[in-house]
């Protein structure tokens, strides 16, 4: 803690950028991320594959250096935070020796942090005490993931990062994994997890940071982001090509319209207010055969993360 009034943020990213060299020129994986996470928050870092989530996490862990910008973990450099055991991570894949037991893995990890105590308490907290003597290579994906979680616990980190922790797990494994994480986070640990499962962010996070193409496109409570993401689709038929183009132009001028798609002779309109759009189409235009459909969250998520434009929520909550 510093002497200032605000507590030191668990995580502070300022103008964070990361470029990778590629044959086709530099690729910008992270493109100017500003983010502050307070101690005790459970935050989902939500975005499609390739949004820059893993690149960002690697920089937070000190595994890679930013091209520009800064990362502070509890006010310190990532490498120092790692050495002090204040930040730990559950990586997506790898990072395990297959030919030692679950208990040996955790005991070794603890020893690397200078503790020679029993691994059992950590195994219990991760819900894998019954697997203690099993070879890591024979554990299922979900069991290995809980092992990674147990390993992350040995330094009693204040900040825990999870990179797509449940990828490839079945429903049961996912639920058990999150039960273990949630039980632990209740003690006040800051948890940041990357995911591309909207439902996972919705269920387990207090706050959702939506990223796309290396930028933060929305940041707010799960309810806020959900309301942002829940829209409807209105579609209608306009037979004449010229007429259809004119209608599309008029629709675009409506403030409630988010996006317009052409599918053959149908116009497909994404909107936050389907009533307005339907009323407009039926009363002011030649549109007919109108349909209104509820967006599912996945569609909305895709719409939000593929549209490069900033959403209304952008930066509004912090």
């Amino acid at each position: 803690m510093t002497s200032t009034t605000a507590p030191t943020p668990a995580l502070s990213l300022r103008g964070l950028r990361k470029e990778f060299a590629s044959p086709a020129g530099p690729v910008r994986a992270v493109d100017g991320v500003d983010l502050e996470i307070a101690p005790g928050e459970v935050v989902a870092f939500l975005g499609p594959n390739g949004a820059g989530k893993t690149s960002t996490i690697d920089m937070v862990l000190g595994l890679s250096a930013p091209t520009s910008g800064t990362v502070r973990v509890f006010g310190a450099d990532p490498a120092d935070a790692i050495a002090a055991g204040r930040v730990a991570a559950v990586m997506q894949t790898g990072g395990l020796l297959r030919d030692i037991t679950v208990a040996e893995t955790v005991a070794l990890t603890a020893a690397l942090f200078g503790s020679s105590g029993s691994p059992v308490p950590y195994l219990e907290r991760a819900g894998i005490a019954d697997l203690a003597d099993r070879m890591v290579g024979t554990c299922s994906g979900g069991q290995q993931q809980r092992l990674r979680f147990a390993m992350a616990l040995v330094s009693e980190p204040d900040l825990l990062l999870l990179d797509e922790p449940t990828t490839g797990m079945d429903v049961e494994g996912r639920r058990e994994f999150w039960a273990a994480i949630r039980a632990d986070a209740a003690a006040g640990r800051t948890v940041v997890f990357a995911t591309h499962y909207l439902e996972e962010a919705d269920t387990y996070a207090d706050r959702v940071v939506l990223v796309s193409e290396g930028r933060v496109v929305a940041d707010g409570s799960t309810t806020e982001v959900k309301s942002l993401a829940s829209g409807r689709t209105v579609s209608a038929r306009v037979d004449d090509d010229g007429e259809r183009a004119a209608v599309a132009a008029q629709l675009r001028a409506l403030p409630v319209v988010d996006a317009i798609d052409h599918r053959g002779s149908r116009l497909v309109v994404r909107t936050a207010d389907s009533d307005d759009v339907a009323r407009f189409l039926l009363t002011q235009t030649a549109a007919r055969d109108l349909e209104v459909a509820s967006d599912n969250l996945e569609d909305a998520f895709v719409a939000l993360t593929t549209a490069a434009t900033a959403s209304p929520l952008d930066g509004a909550t912090r």
Partner: protein, 267 residues
């Protein structure tokens, strides 16, 4: 919004930087124990390190009247036993070095970077475990040889064993370097045959004779060590052999250090 309010963050009891430094001894002791247990469990590497060298000795070292022919101040059987002891130590050390890159491919070294363990300490632990297994390999081969008719002075037994064991460090660096260059989980499937070829070429398995090959062989990384480990049996140790060992040790270590530094740099 948050069910876990930031009023009691987990970090309040800690002041950053005030942590005691991680006792490296605990880390190294535990890690070394884990590595030794892994060696004992790995049937494949046990066969290559501890079973094959004495078996090779039994096949090649007991032919004809080798036991009655003298080689320096021992018999030919002893000469071949020392060759096989070096071969076993070399294979073990190479495997130990190469396992670093195997574990890198499995993401383990990345995982270690999330702990206070320094990458150099990790490599030292890996090599120390390999050297421990190498000592067992040398001891088993020479014990089998002693029991089946190899003869040389007591001092030569001890010196040959030590030279084969310590000399194999050159190949630990070789394994480390090659592992970084050929990052594959089955790198030893490539390096195993390479070691066998190097052993033949460098005069470890068969005498070099006096032909043109004897000249070419002097450039092999196995040549210097082969000459060196047999020195206690008598005969003259040429300057070329010593230069060979030092040069290859330098090349492999520099290569390994170069790749290691590149690998551990933050990019």
């Amino acid at each position: 919004m948050s069910t876990t309010t930031p009023t009691a963050p987990a970090g309040t009891t800690r002041t950053s930087g005030a942590r005691p430094r991680v006792p490296v001894a605990t880390a190294v002791r535990t890690y070394l124990a884990v590595e030794l247990r892994r060696s004992l469990r790995n049937r494949r590497s046990l066969i290559f390190s501890v079973v094959m060298p004495p078996v090779f000795f039994l096949i090649f070292g007991l032919q004809g009247d080798y036991a009655d022919q003298s080689a320096g101040n021992g018999n030919v059987t002893a000469w071949i036993a020392v060759s096989m002891a070096l071969y076993g130590a070399m294979v073990t050390a190479t495997g130990g070095g190469a396992s670093v890159s195997v574990e890198r491919a499995q993401g383990w070294t990345r995982q270690l970077r999330l702990t206070p363990l320094r990458p150099t300490v990790y490599v030292v632990v890996k090599l120390a475990a390999a050297m421990a297994l190498g000592a067992v390999s040398v001891a088993v081969t020479l014990a089998v040889a002693a029991a089946t008719g190899a003869q040389m002075p007591v001092g030569a037994w001890i010196l040959c064993a030590l030279l084969a064991w310590v000399g194999s460090l050159v190949f630990a660096a070789f394994g480390l370097f090659m592992g970084y260059l050929l990052p594959a989980e089955n790198v030893m499937q490539i390096l195993g045959p390479v070691l066998a070829l190097l052993s033949f070429g460098g005069g470890l398995f068969v005498p070099l004779g006096d032909g043109w090959w004897a000249t070419v062989a002097q450039l092999f990384p196995t040549y210097g060590l082969a000459e060196l480990v047999h020195a206690p049996l008598g005969g003259d140790l040429g300057v070329g052999a010593v230069v060979n060992v030092v040069a290859w040790a330098a090349i492999f270590s520099a290569g390994a250090a170069w790749r290691f530094r590149k690998d551990t740099a933050r990019v």
